[in-house]
Amino acid sequence: MDTAIHTEKETWGTYQKHVADDNYYYARSCIRQNFFPASEYMFLHILRKVLGKHVYDDPNHTTCTGIGYHSDIVPFETIQTVVARHFALMTEAGLENIAISCVTSFGIYTEILETWQHFPEQLEKTREFLYKATKREFNLPKNIAHTSDIIYKFRHEIAEKAVYKLVHAQTGEPLNVVEHIGCHYAKMFPTKGIGGAEFPQVLSGMITAWGGKVIDYPERRHCCGFGFRNYLVQANRGYSVSNTYKKLESMQPYNPDFILTNCPGCAMFIDKWQYTIAEMEQKTFDSQGKGIPVLTYEELAALVLGIQPWDVGLQIHQIQSESLLDALGIPYDTALKYVDKQGNQLPLPNKPNNLLH
């Protein structure tokens, strides 16, 4: 009996993950800097100002080239050496923990560290390449985390400081939330994600800690459809939108209040393809014809903490969030939605033909 319990504990132990407590080197995401810049801003704000942690945001950090690697125009040796340069920058900053904003990058860093473990000669070759190209040297990180791992780690501290809960302001009932986890978070290396590929907790843990209800649905683990070359080339985009369509159709019967994602591309595609599908087929997957809002975990954490929605960047989502904000009882000033930093009104964006605002 004791042996059986011990084995079960060991089994579940493989679904756990150690995440460093403090002192992170921040590796930004190309897609998020373009489409969700306020999410990265909020990550730094929450870590530094709310939780009192040290995070280094390095101007010398560059793309990891991951989108090029997964569309096969960047060789494996090249991306290994670019990632090694990031480790060198981390080492030079006196840090040992790397916090990675992008799920594609997280998968790549993980793949490279696994490769170096299985093929030590690849690590030595990469050290030579990096020194030859940049004269830089590096230590391996002691801890590698996706930034959603870090928000998950501190979800209870965030809950203690929360101004809002994920409940309907009128009824007190928990909101129905579906989560979508980027494929490269744990499908490639399940032991590197919280809960692995089968029972991922990284987003559902946040949702329940902040008062919401996680809704299961059949295509919960299906890819969002980015598919790298299948989006990058216009002729292939039917692949991308078809996969998102499949997910949305699968979740529709469960009436989600919003979708929570931890992957840059997923957040962007599930938001933007809803617009495309509405324009192409006059179809939305909610009851009001407005689409289902898609949030990043930093946007959600910031809203829960009482930060104003337009500081969080919700105005640059194609699916508008006012219905969700109303449900949560979060006040917002429509007059401040489309202003610049100084408060000057900007020209308004055009409205979609079919997607209601």
């Binding site: 897609i31 390095d58 090029g68 125009i73 610049d340 930093k341």
Partner: protein, 236 residues
């Protein structure tokens, strides 16, 4: 002299990691988003590779089929033997480009469009994706909000805490020339630059064969063709 493609594949660590012993169960095809949409069967590709059939591998390198995979890597999670068909696809695409076979297929020829956009952006800007790259004209599926961001990007990115094209830290900061020079040096010593050159030269030859205009920038007939053309024969 015939090229020993099998020997070349076996030199790639991703091939060693990706193919242990396939038992042809087909779960990779069952889980694959590309197999659902395209005439694509990762199981049969792995079979050809596992048989070490040099002729079949050469046919794969010239085919449409190796270009359908979206590299979601769902196959890695599900394979009961620990294989990763997605890794094998990466190694096949590497060889297809090395030997210029990628221009034999409609989907393979698209590598030129990816090199001209994402590839050149990496070395010019230090980002795979940048607001200047994701133009509304080429990405109308991004909708009117993205069009609005494009029209007022300085003001909007500043409002949202970014540091667009400016010195210092922050989202979308200008990547300093010394960092771009390091990226270029890394590409030079690791054959990244060589791959870009192969894609460019083989595409130029293909453009001549197809009687399509070709130039250094993306404003040419061949780019427009490979970026937009879909024969709609991929699901038959």
């Amino acid at each position: 002299m015939d090229i020993d493609f099998c020997a070349e594949l076996e030199q790639d660590v991703r091939f060693k990691e990706g193919l242990k012993a396939c038992m042809n169960c087909g779960i990779c095809t069952a889980i694959c988003p590309a197999a659902e949409l395209y005439n694509y069967d990762p199981r049969s590709i792995i079979t050809s590779v596992q048989l070490r059939n040099n002729l079949q591998i050469k046919e794969l390198l010239q085919s449409e089929t190796i270009w359908y995979c979206g590299q979601c890597m769902s196959c890695k999670t599900r394979c009961p033997r620990g294989n990763t068909p997605g890794f094998i696809i990466q190694t096949l695409r590497k060889l297809s480009q090395k030997y210029g076979y990628f221009t034999h297929s409609e989907k393979g020829r698209q590598q030129y469009a990816i090199k001209k956009t994402v590839g050149e952006n990496v070395l010019k800007k230090g980002y795979c994706v940048h607001p200047d790259l994701v133009s509304y004209d080429m990405h109308q599926e991004q909708g009117p909000i993205w069009q609005w961001v494009q029209q007022h990007k300085q003001a909007i990115y500043e409002r949202l805490g970014a540091n667009l094209d400016k010195e210092g830290a922050g989202a979308l900061r200008k990547i300093h020339k010394k960092n771009l020079d390091e990226l270029q040096a890394i590409f030079d010593v690791t054959n990244g630059t060589e791959l870009y050159t192969i894609i460019e030269e083989e595409s130029k030859k293909q453009a001549e064969r197809m009687n399509l205009g070709f130039s250094d920038n993306i404003d040419n007939e061949y780019f427009k063709h490979v970026y937009t053309y879909n024969s709609n024969t991929h699901s038959e």
